[in-house]
């Protein structure tokens, strides 16, 4: 254990990096999921097929492949653009933080698309008709009726998506983001204790997973608070 002494602050900042990516990617995931679900439920055939292609591609290819494509692809493109202006520039990339967040959000967003689509379809049509009868506008119906009813249905699977998201953040160390796994590699370089360091990383991730699982339980209870009387 004494090998870890002196590395605590690095691991702490690594964990902060993980949390930051997680929050960023989570917001993007919800966004992609809602857009995807909206497109899949829309009447437009073009939107439907684009969303269909999106879910097929991002659910059917390895995460690491999407991540490397994003990072190196954007680097090649940006470098080519930059060299057109200034031939001296050797290499330009988008920060690993953004390449990584975007890549994992797109992947998990594809799963969230299916979840949200199912949840929107699961909302009782009677409730929507009732809100129409009360004279609510489409937007009001969406915000006050569809969303609260839908997130109750979407929450349990979405909790699993959040767990995939936190676990996918580990991949971003491959493109050089200084999160816990990256810190562990540096620590191993000086201490020569790979087992200790990687177990610590595992423990940190287990902590994150536990926090997410517990939060989802609390949120589920909150979302279902009106239904508890009947049970």
């Amino acid at each position: 254990m004494e090998a870890i002494t002196g590395w605590w602050d690095d691991f702490f900042w690594g964990s902060v990096a993980v949390a930051r990516i997680f929050v960023t990617a989570l917001i993007l995931t919800v966004l992609f999921g809602l857009i995807g679900a909206g497109a899949k439920l829309s009447k437009s055939r073009v939107a439907k097929s684009i969303a269909g292609g999106y879910t097929v591609v991002f659910r059917g290819t390895p995460e690491i492949l999407v991540l490397l494509l994003f990072y190196f692809g954007s680097a090649v493109t940006l470098t080519a653009i930059a060299q057109a202006f200034d031939p001296e520039i050797k290499f330009v990339d988008i920060p690993p933080f953004w390449a990584g967040s975007l890549a994992i959000a797109l992947i998990v967003g594809a799963y969230a698309t299916e979840t949200f689509r199912g949840a929107f379809l699961g909302v009782d049509p009677g409730q929507i008709e009732a809100s129409r009868a009360l004279g609510l506008s489409n937007l009001q119906t969406f915000i006050y009726v569809r969303i609260p009813a839908m997130w109750r249905l979407a929450l349990p699977p979405f909790g699993n998506h959040m767990l995939s998201l936190i676990k996918d953040t580990a991949l971003i160390s491959i493109i050089g983001l200084q999160e816990t796994l990256f810190v562990a590699e540096q620590a191993i370089g000086t201490t020569g204790k790979p087992f200790t360091m990687y177990i610590l990383v595992g423990a940190i991730y287990l902590g994150f997973s536990t926090i997410i699982t517990l939060s989802v339980m609390v949120l589920e209870k909150y979302a279902n608070r009106h239904l508890e009387v009947g049970r």
């Binding site: 097929v56 390895p62 690491i64 494509l69 991949l171 997973s209």
Partner: protein, 231 residues
């Protein structure tokens, strides 16, 4: 940005050279993982706390940490421990292939045992009661009534897990294995053409996903041939 078609045509056969390794990783760890999952399931539903509690801890740990961290703990971490280096398993754990199989097996075993448990819990109680009324012993009820129905119920979720296992095999490239992903990364490092190589590889992986889905679709259809009229 122009696509280098000659490079694509040149590198696809090279990447397909690694498909054998991808298949080996997939089939070996899927088979071993299924055996592990069945053992874990039987321990979990045994009703004895000293069997079910360790299983729950195991599942919690392996589902709560990233598979990449698990691979690193096994490949880079275990050699730190002296008793591992002295053990009979060392010839397996010394090789990246053995480590990849071990990590994928342990990981998928945790997920699949939960899927199987869902199937077992989903079996209609009435059927088991009918079995008891017919005088079948608990063991016979489990083998002849619960198991066939549970398999049918668990199959759709299981096929998703096989797909995510297939995607996880790409992570073997992080521990120097030259599966399709590993070969693609080598080619990209040499040619610096991420779009051409990675997008071609994405298509190959999508084809694999499609094949897995189709095979399971066929099995599902065959297994539910008696219940099709209800559905």
């Amino acid at each position: 940005m122009i696509f280098d078609t000659a490079l694509i045509l040149d590198s696809i056969p090279k990447m397909l050279f690694g498909i054998g390794l991808t298949f080996q990783l997939l089939f070996l760890s899927a088979a071993l993982g299924l055996v592990l999952a069945i053992i874990l399931l039987l321990m979990r539903i045994s009703g004895r706390w000293y069997l079910s509690a360790p299983t729950m801890v195991y599942i919690y740990i392996f589902r709560g940490t990233p598979i990449l961290v698990q691979i690193f703990i096994i490949y880079y971490g275990l050699p730190q421990l002296e008793f591992v280096r002295d053990s009979v398993f060392w010839p397996i754990l010394r090789e990246p292939f053995g480590c990849a199989i071990l990590a994928l097996t342990l990981n998928t075993g945790a997920y699949v045992s939960e899927i199987l448990r869902g199937g077992v819990l989903g079996v209609d109680r009435g059927l088991k009661e009918a079995g008891a009324a017919l005088g079948l012993s608990a063991r016979h009820r489990f083998i002849y009534i619960t198991t066939p129905i549970a398999i049918r119920l668990a199959l759709p979720a299981y096929s998703n897990d096989v797909i995510s296992l297939m995607k996880s095999t790409a992570l073997a490239s992080t521990i120097t294995l030259l599966d399709m992903m590993g070969i693609a990364r080598t080619i990209v490092a040499e040619t610096y053409a991420p779009y051409e190589i990675f997008i071609s590889l994405m298509i190959i992986y999508l084809a694999l996903t499609w094949m897995i889905q189709r095979s399971f679709g066929w099995i599902e259809k065959r297994m539910s041939r008696y219940v099709r009229s209800e559905a």
